[in-house]
C-alpha cells in the first residue's frame, strides 16, 4: 500500500498555474489575405505546445495551456518544492549546496539553449528547491511562448535579475541574448551567498537605477553588491572557485560574459556528480508507468478545474458585464474605453492545484493495478490479478470521462505501447474496446504500423522548395478546421503546410487534391509536437484507405468506389436504395467529400477521432459501411424527401450521432461477406481474393448492376454455415444435373418481371419474403441475364441480394462438396 501511495503521491507530481493576458488586436483588422488576424492568445497557444515536450530533471515540465476569455492564457506547469526565496535568511544552504544549485540551473539553461529558448525570467522565485536538495527551474517558457514578448503588452522579465544590456536595448527589441540568463544566474547566486534578498527595501525604479549603476562599477560587481549589503566578509570568505563563478556571471559586457557551455566546463563542477542517471537505452526511453501528463489528465477527470482554482484564489476576477461595455464605438469599428488595467495583465502569482480529491478517488486502487500483467499463461496467476474495472457497458463518452477507467486503460496501453512493435496484436485487441484519448496519437501510430525511423525519413524529405501546388495549399490551410485552437495557430499552419508539402514531394505519383488538408488535420492535431509522426501516420493511412484516390486522374477509382457504395446500400437497405435510385440521387453528388477525406471534411475533429478509432481497425471497405450508416441515420428524412431536399440535407450535414454510426457500421461490416465490397482499385496488398477481377468488371457494369457480385469462396462459406439462400435461375434441365445443396430453382424464363411483387416468382417467393438474416445469392450462367433478376428482387425489397461472380460453373471444379444432383438421392 505504501509503494502504491508513493507512486501516486510522487512529490514531483504536483502542479500549479499562472495566468496572463495576450495583447489584443485593435478593432476589426485583417491580414493581407483578407482573413481576420489570428488572436494573439492563439498564437501563444500554438507556440507554447513545444514547451510541453521538454523533459529535463532541472526544469519544471509544462503540462497544459488553456485559453480563457478575453485573450487570457493559463499555463499549467509542474511545480514541486519551494522557491529559493524561501531559503533566504535561513541556514539551509552551504557553499556546496550553492555550487550544486548553480550547476543544475546551468544544466537546465543548457537544455533550453539547445532548443533556442531564452529564459529571460530566471529569478530566485522561479527556482524551486525540492526536498532532495535538487532544483527545478520554473516558468522558463514565458518569453518563448509570447514570441519574445511581442504578443503581450507587459515586459517579460524579473526586474532585479535582468541583465543591464536588456535595459539598454530598445523597448521594441524582441530579441534577447541567452547570455542575459547568465547574469540572472549570477544575481541568484549572489543572493544565496549573502543569504538575503538584494535591495529588498528599494522600489522598482530604484532597483533598475542600482543595476544601471553597476555598469560603471570598477572591479567586481559581486564585490560591490556584497559591500552595499554590508556583508563584504561573506565575499572574502567565499571559496575562490565560487567567487570566480559569480564574478564571471556578473560580467557587465555580454561579450565577455561566459556562455553556459563555458561555465559547465569549469573545474568547480568536477566534483558535483550529476544526479544518478538511469541507464540510457539506445532503443527506447526508460519506462515510466505513468507520467505527470496522465496524472494531470486523471486529476481533471476527477473534477480538477484549473480555471476554477484560479478564481477561488483570486487570480481570475470576474467583473459585472456592464463594466465591460465600451465607452464609445467609432464608425470604423474602433472601440474606446475598454483598456485593460495594465497591472492585471500579468500576475506572477502561482496557484497550486489541490490533489486531495484525486488521491482519495484513487486510494483504493491496489498496487498490482499499476503493473498489469500482459501475457498470462497460468490460471493461478490470472486469478490473482484484481478483477478488471468494468465499464464496458457504459457509453464511450462516459468511459472517457471516468478517471478510474482511464487510469486502468492508460496504464495498460502505456505498457503495450512500450513493447511496440512486438505487442501490436495486443494493442489491436485493446483498441477494439476503446482508445484512451491521451494516448490516441501513439496508439494510432502503432495501429498504422509506423516504424521507428519515421523521424529520419521525414527529415530527408524536401518541405521547402516552392511548387505550383503551394498556392492551393496556402488558401486551403486557413480554412481547415479553424475552430480548433491548435490548427488555427500560426505554428499549426506552418506544420500543416510542411506535412502537405512533404507528402506531395514524397509521393510523386500523386497530387494534392483539396481535402488532403482535412485528412491530415486529425494526425497533426494528435501529434502536434511530432510533425514527423503525423506525416508517418498520414503516409500509412492513405495507402490503406485511399489507395490511388490522389492520382491526378482518379476518376476510375472514385467512380468504382461510389458504385460499390450504391451496391452496398442496395445489399443492406433495398427500400432506401430504390428511393435514391428513383430520385436519381447518386453518390457522386454528395459522397465524394465523405470518402476522399474519410469524413474528415464533414465532421468536426472530436467526431473524426471517434470514427477513425474504429476505421483504423478495419480494412478499406469499412468507410463504405460508415457511409451507409450515415444514410441509415437519416433514413426517414431521405425516404420522405425528393431530390432537392435530399441534396440540401447533405450540403449542410445534420448532427450525426457518431457512436451510433460506429456501432451500426461495425454491424454491417461484420455481416457483409468481404467479396461484396471487393474493388478492382483497392490496394494490391489487401487483395486476398484472386480471380475476382479476372473478368474485369468495368465501371459501366458496376453502375448498371444494382446488386453486388459475390465471390464463390464466400458462397461456399455461407452455404456451409447455412447462412445463404441460393437462387438458381438456370433452366430446370441444368439444375437437375448439378446444383448447390438446398438451392431454390427459379428458372429465369419462368418469371415475368412485370410488377415488383414476390408472388410472381411462385412458391419460393414466400421464403424470400420471410428472410431477414440470410444472404440471397443469385446463381446463373453466362447465358442468363444476371442483372434483371437481382434487380427484380431488389425492387421487391429483398435484402442481401448478390450475384455469384462467374456463374454456376465456377463452383464445379473447386467446391464439389456443396453440390449435389437433385434428381438422384443424396448419398
Amino acid at each position: 500500500m505504501d509503494i502504491q501511495k508513493s507512486l501516486l503521491h510522487n512529490p514531483q507530481f504536483q502542479f500549479g498555474a499562472i495566468t496572463f493576458f495576450a495583447k489584443q488586436h485593435k478593432g476589426d483588422t485583417c491580414g493581407s489575405n483578407g482573413l481576420p488576424l489570428t488572436p494573439n492568445s492563439i498564437t501563444v497557444y500554438g507556440r507554447a505546445q513545444l514547451l510541453k515536450i521538454i523533459e529535463n530533471p532541472y526544469l519544471c515540465q509544462y503540462i497544459d495551456i488553456i485559453r480563457g476569455k478575453h485573450e487570457r492564457t493559463v499555463v499549467v506547469s509542474q511545480y514541486c518544492g519551494k522557491p529559493l526565496t524561501a531559503c533566504l535568511n535561513t541556514d539551509n544552504l552551504n557553499v556546496d549546496n550553492i555550487k550544486k544549485i548553480a550547476y543544475q540551473i546551468l544544466k537546465g539553461l543548457e537544455e533550453l539553449q539547445k532548443r533556442n529558448i531564452v529564459n529571460r525570467n530566471l529569478s530566485t522565485e522561479n527556482v524551486l528547491l525540492m526536498e532532495d536538495n535538487n532544483i527545478k527551474v520554473f516558468n522558463y517558457g514565458l518569453y518563448y511562448m509570447t514570441g519574445n514578448g511581442q504578443y503581450v503588452a507587459f515586459p517579460v522579465m524579473s526586474v532585479l535579475y535582468t541583465a543591464p544590456e536588456v535595459y539598454l536595448s530598445k523597448p521594441s527589441s524582441t530579441y534577447s541574448h541567452p547570455k542575459g540568463d547568465i547574469w540572472s544566474l549570477g544575481i541568484i547566486l549572489a543572493e544565496l551567498v549573502i543569504n538575503k534578498p538584494l535591495w529588498n527595501s528599494l522600489k522598482l525604479g530604484q532597483i533598475i537605477r542600482k543595476i544601471m549603476s553597476l555598469l560603471t562599477a570598477n572591479g567586481s560587481v559581486f564585490e560591490r553588491i556584497t559591500r552595499e549589503h554590508n556583508c563584504y566578509e561573506k565575499y572574502s570568505e567565499l571559496p575562490a572557485d565560487l567567487k570566480d563563478l559569480i564574478n564571471s556571471c556578473l560580467t557587465v559586457y555580454p561579450s565577455n560574459r561566459p556562455s553556459v557551455q563555458d561555465l559547465l566546463k569549469r573545474e568547480i563542477f568536477n566534483n558535483i556528480a550529476p544526479s544518478p542517471m538511469k541507464t540510457k537505452s539506445k532503443v527506447c526511453k526508460p519506462f515510466q508507468n505513468f507520467t505527470i501528463m496522465e496524472f494531470y489528465h486523471w486529476w481533471q477527470l476527477a473534477g480538477g478545474d484549473v480555471l476554477l482554482e484560479l478564481k477561488k484564489q483570486g487570480l481570475i476576477r470576474t467583473s459585472p458585464p456592464i463594466l465591460s461595455l465600451p465607452k464609445a464605438v467609432l464608425m470604423d469599428g474602433n472601440i474606446l474605453g475598454l483598456e485593460r488595467n495594465f497591472n492585471l495583465l500579468y500576475d506572477p502569482k502561482v496557484v497550486l492545484m489541490p490533489l486531495d480529491t484525486l488521491y482519495r478517488r484513487f486510494s483504493h486502487i491496489p498496487l498490482s493495478s499499476y503493473y498489469p500483467l500482459i501475457h498470462i499463461n497460468s490460471d493461478i496467476i490470472k486469478k490473482s490479478e484484481p478483477p478488471q474495472y468494468d465499464a464496458s457497458n457504459l457509453p464511450l463518452v462516459i468511459r472517457e470521462k471516468d478517471p478510474e477507467y482511464q487510469f486502468h486503460r492508460t496504464i495498460l496501453m502505456r505498457r503495450l505501447l512500450h513493447g511496440y512493435p512486438f505487442t501490436r496484436n495486443l494493442i489491436i485487441k485493446e483498441s477494439e474496446k476503446d482508445i484512451p484519448p491521451l494516448l490516441r496519437g501513439n496508439i494510432w501510430a502503432a495501429l498504422l504500423h509506423v516504424k521507428g525511423d519515421y523521424e529520419k525519413e521525414y527529415a530527408k524529405i524536401d518541405k521547402t522548395t516552392p511548387t505550383p501546388t503551394d498556392r492551393q495549399i496556402e488558401v486551403d490551410i486557413p480554412r481547415c478546421h479553424q475552430y480548433n485552437e491548435l490548427l488555427s495557430s500560426s505554428v499549426g499552419h506552418n506544420k500543416l503546410k510542411r506535412i502537405l508539402k512533404a507528402w506531395v514531394s514524397k509521393n510523386s505519383q500523386y497530387v494534392y487534391w483539396q481535402g488532403l488538408d482535412s485528412l491530415t488535420a486529425p494526425f497533426l492535431y494528435l501529434n502536434f509536437n511530432d510533425e514527423a509522426k503525423a506525416f508517418a501516420c498520414l503516409s500509412s493511412f492513405i495507402p490503406l484507405y485511399l489507395h490511388n484516390f490522389f492520382l491526378k486522374d482518379n476518376a476510375a477509382v472514385i467512380q468504382e468506389y461510389l458504385a460499390k457504395f450504391m451496391q452496398l446500400i442496395s445489399f443492406h437497405d433495398p427500400t432506401l436504395a430504390n428511393h435514391l435510385h428513383n430520385i436519381n440521387f447518386i453518390p457522386e453528388l454528395f459522397a465524394i467529400p465523405w470518402f476522399l477525406t474519410m469524413f474528415s471534411h464533414v465532421f468536426p475533429l472530436h467526431k473524426i477521432l471517434h470514427l477513425w478509432d474504429k476505421l483504423i481497425l478495419g480494412d478499406s471497405s469499412f468507410p463504405l459501411h460508415v457511409g451507409l450508416s450515415i444514410l441509415t441515420q437519416l433514413r426517414e428524412t431521405l425516404l420522405n424527401s425528393g431530390f432537392n431536399e435530399c441534396i440540401l440535407l447533405f450540403s449542410d450535414l445534420p448532427e450525426v450521432d457518431i457512436e451510433q454510426c460506429v456501432t451500426s457500421s461495425l454491424k454491417s461490416y461484420n455481416i457483409t461477406p468481404r467479396s461484396i465490397t471487393y474493388r478492382k482499385h483497392q490496394n494490391e496488398n489487401e487483395k486476398n481474393i484472386e480471380n475476382m477481377d479476372e473478368m474485369g468488371i468495368t465501371v459501366q457494369e458496376l453502375n448498371r448492376e444494382r446488386c453486388p457480385r459475390i465471390h464463390f469462396t464466400d458462397v461456399v462459406k455461407l452455404v456451409n454455415e447455412e447462412k445463404a439462400i441460393i437462387i438458381d435461375i438456370r433452366n430446370p434441365t441444368q439444375f437437375s444435373r448439378y446444383a448447390v445443396r438446398g438451392s431454390l430453382n427459379i428458372p429465369f424464363s419462368s418469371v415475368t418481371f412485370g410488377s415488383p411483387v414476390l408472388e410472381s416468382i411462385g412458391p419460393h417467393g414466400a421464403t424470400l419474403k420471410n428472410n431477414t438474416e440470410k444472404v440471397v445469392v443469385v446463381v446463373g450462367t453466362e447465358d442468363t441475364d444476371l442483372e434483371l433478376f437481382p434487380k427484380f428482387l431488389l425492387e421487391c425489397k429483398v435484402s442481401r441480394v448478390c450475384v455469384l461472380h462467374g456463374g454456376f460453373n465456377v463452383l464445379l471444379p473447386v467446391s464439389p462438396t456443396i453440390l449435389y444432383t437433385p434428381n438422384s438421392p443424396i448419398l
Binding site: 482573413l35 487534391w513 471534411h601
Partner: protein, 215 residues
C-alpha cells in the same frame, strides 16, 4: 411538388404570379469566395473561415421579381483545377452561371476568363453568365481593375458586378440581375423540364431549355 410545376396556391385559393425555377452554377478558382457568396445570398451569413468545397454543394433560394417567383437551384462547385472534370456534371443544363474571381488576385481573373470560354463553348447556348469580382471589401489590395473586368464582360455579353460576400455588397443584386435576364416566357420550357436539380446527372439528355416556366 406543387410549387415546382404548378401555379402557386395561396391559402385563400387566390392565384399568384408565375413560379420559375432555374439551375445556377458557380464557377471560379478556389478561395475566391464562391461558397461565401452563396451563403450570403441563401442564409445572409458570412463565415471568415468558410471551409473549402469538395465536389460540390447544393442550395436553393427563392427571390421575387415583380409578379414572378424565381427559385434558384444553386450548385456551388469546388474551385481546385483538379475537380474540373466534375464541372460539366454541374453546368450541364444550367440556365445561369456566376463566374467568380477575387479582385485582389490577377490569376483568378485569368481563370475566370477560361471558365467563361468553356461555358460559352460547352454549356447551354442560352446560358446567362454573370461575372462577379468578389472581395470588394479588400479594394485597397485590388489587383484587377474594375474597368478591365467591365470591358471584358461587355465584350463577352456577361453581367458584371463587383461583390463582397463579407459586407453583402451587390450579392443579392447579382442574383436578381440574373433572374431579370432569364427568360420567363412560357415557350421557353415545358413544365417540369430541364433545369431541375435532378436533371444534371450523367447520361441525362432531358430538355436543356433556357428556362422552364409555368403559369
Amino acid at each position: 411538388m406543387a410549387n415546382r410545376t404548378g401555379t402557386a396556391q395561396r391559402p385563400n385559393g387566390q392565384t399568384q404570379g408565375k413560379i420559375c425555377q432555374f439551375k445556377l452554377v458557380l464557377l471560379g478558382e478556389s478561395a475566391v469566395g464562391k461558397s461565401s457568396l452563396v451563403l450570403r445570398f441563401v442564409k445572409g451569413q458570412f463565415h471568415e473561415y468558410q471551409e473549402s468545397t469538395i465536389g460540390a454543394a447544393f442550395l436553393t433560394q427563392t427571390v421575387c421579381l415583380d409578379d414572378t417567383t424565381v427559385k434558384f437551384e444553386i450548385w456551388d462547385t469546388a474551385g481546385q483545377e483538379r475537380y474540373h472534370s466534375l464541372a460539366p456534371m454541374y453546368y450541364r443544363g444550367a440556365q445561369a452561371a456566376i463566374v467568380v474571381y477575387d479582385i485582389t488576385n490577377q490569376d483568378t481573373f485569368g481563370r475566370a476568363k477560361t471558365w467563361v470560354k468553356e461555358l460559352q463553348r460547352q454549356a447551354s447556348p442560352n446560358i446567362v453568365i454573370a461575372l462577379a469580382g468578389n472581395k470588394q471589401d479588400l479594394a485597397n489590395k485590388r489587383m484587377v481593375e474594375f474597368e478591365e473586368a467591365h470591358a471584358y464582360a461587355d465584350e463577352h455579353g456577361l453581367l458584371f458586378m463587383e461583390t463582397s460576400a463579407k459586407t453583402a455588397m451587390n450579392v443579392n443584386d447579382i442574383f436578381l440581375a440574373i433572374a431579370k435576364k432569364l427568360p420567363k416566357n412560357e415557350q421557353a420550357g415545358a413544365p417540369g423540364g430541364g433545369g431541375q436539380g435532378r436533371r444534371l446527372v450523367d447520361g441525362d439528355t432531358g430538355p436543356k431549355a433556357a428556362g422552364n416556366c409555368c403559369k
